[in-house]
Homo-oligomer: 102 residues x 2
């Protein structure tokens, strides 16, 4: 999925997730891949862009705040979120409304 | 600057810039560094996060749409923007309002 996401005409929503992994982050890559495969099946999922080189920045795109909330509360995603402290040394999530793109 | 940006309480604004470089992108690294040094001096600049590994994702944070517009129209930034097609094979800019973070 390492490509620029094809998204509809704004407005839509973006979740910017910026993070640093611990030196040891066993199981993270598989979990991230699995989480993405789940997210892609969620109603309102529009696309994903992610890069990691030391710091990681991933951006997922959604058609509404409700879709973001439903994904946050997805049972399997919640289980993964409980493990986040094992994997991430530091992280920040920003929920955004995309107003324009070009 | 490879760290998670310290940003104020929302709302504030984010510019998500996703891109792929051409195989040859002479002068890009220096230009990007210089552009960032200029951006940091702009009124309303709040922070920056950027990662490149094949695809690049950089996010700059601003206190208003006016600050983003002023940066877009900065004379030296405009000169750099004119060179973008030399450097970028593909790129997308998304202007967003950050509504929540945690």
């Amino acid at each position: 999925m390492n490509q620029i996401a094809t998204t509809p005409k704004p407005p839509y929503y973006a979740v910017i997730f910026t993070s640093f992994l611990h030196d040891e982050a066993d199981g993270y890559a598989e979990a991230a891949q699995y989480a993405l495969s789940l997210a892609m099946k969620q109603p309102g999922f529009l696309g994903y862009e992610g890069v990691r080189a030391g710091m990681g920045i991933s951006v997922s795109y959604w058609d509404s705040l409700e879709a973001i909330r439903a994904w946050k509360e997805h049972p399997e995603h919640r289980l993964l979120q409980q493990k986040e402290q094992l994997w991430f040394r530091e992280s920040k999530i920003r929920i955004c409304k995309v107003e324009r793109d070009y």
